[in-house]
Amino acid sequence: MSGGNAPEKAVVDPEVQETLIAVGDLDGQRFDQAEVFTKKGKSRRVTLAPGHRTSVYSEERGWAVRAGNRRASFFASGTGQVTPAGPWPEPDGLGLRLPKPHAAPRWVLPSDFESPLIGEREGVALLDGIARALAEELTGSRLIQAAVEDGASEAQLMNCHGLKCRFRHRLASLHLEAVAPGAAGIRASLYLAERDARKFNPLALARRLADRLSILSQGRARPRDRGDCLLAPPLMARLLAGLTPLWVGTEAKLKVDRLWGGDRRIAGEGWTLLDNGRLPGGALEAPFDGEGVATRETVLVDSGEYRRPLLTWWQTRDSEYRESGCSRRASWRDLPSPGPTHLYLRPKAGISVADLLGDIARGYYLLEATGAGRFDWQENRFEIPVCGLEVRRGRATGPVNHCVLRGKITGFLASIQAVARDLAFLPLGGMIGSPTVLATGLELFAEEGPG
């Protein structure tokens, strides 16, 4: 099946069509805007907790209907099969507008969408494998909680303008929590997403957890320092996620104009930022967004120059921009809302992390954020607690912890000098990705305060 490329030719189930007709003329109230969305899916979740293992197999099936006119509207959702009879709530609130169909670029269903869900034994083996590898990597450390979930779903959407589409999703997530040896209560966690649970590599994940636990256990705070910093993908993804208000929505351009005074150059040459709902191999790859608008690649920042924000079809009304296809539905229960799908900094082929590390005479290789970042748009400031390694002449010389990366938001974007090829994504309200980057002139503080 090719995920449906012409949004008016896709075949939807008869009950979807019948419901759309029924809500279009509900109790004589002419709703010239109506939409029916259905989704069914299945998932397997295997969890490991102290002394207990759980395996859950769920089959979900739900629908959502939006209907209204210029004066009033409603949203209703429910489980099972959608029926024309409803019952539907009284419309109220603001009016509703829905998108019209447009031709969508061709999209071929990736072959791994067809692979079966991870089995219970496979899930247990994956988690056990991670636990074993972690204990071998760092003696005395242990996995205290772990959960792997693998799911597949199919959605259908039809609206009164003739928009019809049908598309599938495949998504797996992994949550790990581990403690370091000793009684200090040092804990590290990972939350990752892939399209297929079989892509999680137990050994690599165990090493990452062991590295993080070692750094958190042995790392020391540094006094205020400035130097070249290599920012690893997990930290960069958190920073990009924190900067989302600059990239998404109608207010984004205003924020950028305010911070950079209308200058289009906001970052170094190496900074090309994109969002792509149909990123090949991406965990959220799909031909259409949650309102049936075709997804596409949208360049937000091109070689350091601000191009445009990420906007849904209704946000582009009265604007110079084309819609990005970025309306997301967290589930059938939820209203579609704007947000990134695969938002990422474009990697540079041929540049390895080792190449960038070798360029650092004195600085830091910052690996992860140890807490939430803070971004103050009014004051043009940001700060994020970090951990990593101290680097001297291209070599790691010791772990660093209890530090805060702090500075101006504009300064941070300008500080990025080079980008590596190791693009990695994190699930942070959409998949947010970045390769390792080299930044110059960033300031690191001890966690308790400056200096």
Partner: protein, 436 residues
Amino acid sequence: MPFSALDHAAIARALSQIADRSHDLVDAFFERSEEVSLPAEGGPPGFTVRREEGLAIRLVRGDRSWLASRDGISPSLFAEALRQAARAMPIAAYPEPRLDPTPWIDRPEAPELVPFPTDVIRHLRQERVAFPLRLHVARHRRWLQIIGPRWVPEEQFESFYSCTAETPWCRLGMLLPSLGPSAVEAVAAPLLESFRCRHAPAPEASTGVVLLGPEATAVLLHEAVAHALEADTLALGGSPNAAIGVRLAQDGFHVLDDPSSAPEGVRRTCDDEGVTVCRRWLLRDGVVEQPLADSAAAQVTEALLPGAARRSHRHLPPAPRSTHLEVVAGEYGLDDLAADSDGLWIPRADRGRLDPVSGQFSLDIPHARRLRSGQIAEPVGPCRLEGRVGDLLGAIQGVGRQAQTAGAGWCAKGGQKLPVWATATPLRLEGVTVKP
């Protein structure tokens, strides 16, 4: 009640077929839930309605659990889920019991939601205050029926409201048992106080006396007592049994979890595994007496009592959680607790966080007021109360005599979003650290 027409006996018989070992636990969970919400003024669409119905079958065998869940209630879905939980293809298909929940055909309405935002704004205006405010209000209803092979507890029903208020300087969320004048007051009063404190500077880091209002007490005890004494949290550090008998606070400080005395509308007679709830003394005279446990934990650790299992929906297995925390009232009035002290009066806390491994705890405070010679004085801005659970509970030096329903909110531990309720008193803490 939607599940009164289920064939309980046939369901119990079907469940008994997969519980074929002596210590197997098996249950069927039938759920119907509804959320009707009215978005803040200016937000589309109008009424938003979410209605769900489904079932889950669970089998616990030793240190393993299997759960199979479905969105819908029908004999074939039940039989499918039963087969999946059993992980076996039986020689003969499992019988399909009669499952006829009452059809859900009534129009979703919640007219009581409509005047509430206006009433809150009117209340604020009576205080001669007006500011940009977006109020989102929702009604939540849930019907549950749990059936085991040997027991059929009565059907459970919960109904409550949630309200989220957004102003340019704060976001306030709370749960309300009903939407009467007292609910208007419960939403308006903290909004008014946050308006008055909006420009207040954060206090300097200090260690000293802190007076917690009932709302802040509820959040503190939810994190520092309830979460800390959940069997699954305790298991992260070793045996849950080891916590029993440990002194965490001083004599005279008692904390219970009692779902049967929760506010009307959310009172429960059984937990989400169908086990009868009890008045559970978490701390009696400051000593841990009975941690929160579900059936699986109680099976492993004999000293634990089941009856505190909760599940946010059918697709997740139950886990031990509190429902309604209760602080037994002490002997002091608010003036006695303040007792000529200098420090901070903290009426409300946004949220608390507990690191289950290190025992480190923090409470985010949106605003507070200084306590000067026992008198509540000028406001201070956002700050954080930090410490280890044992140290914080050990710092409680006085318990107020005015217990009130307070501090209800959503708890989201482990991805399970659950409403939690509390009846709490003011507390006096000494020697605790507050940081900006």
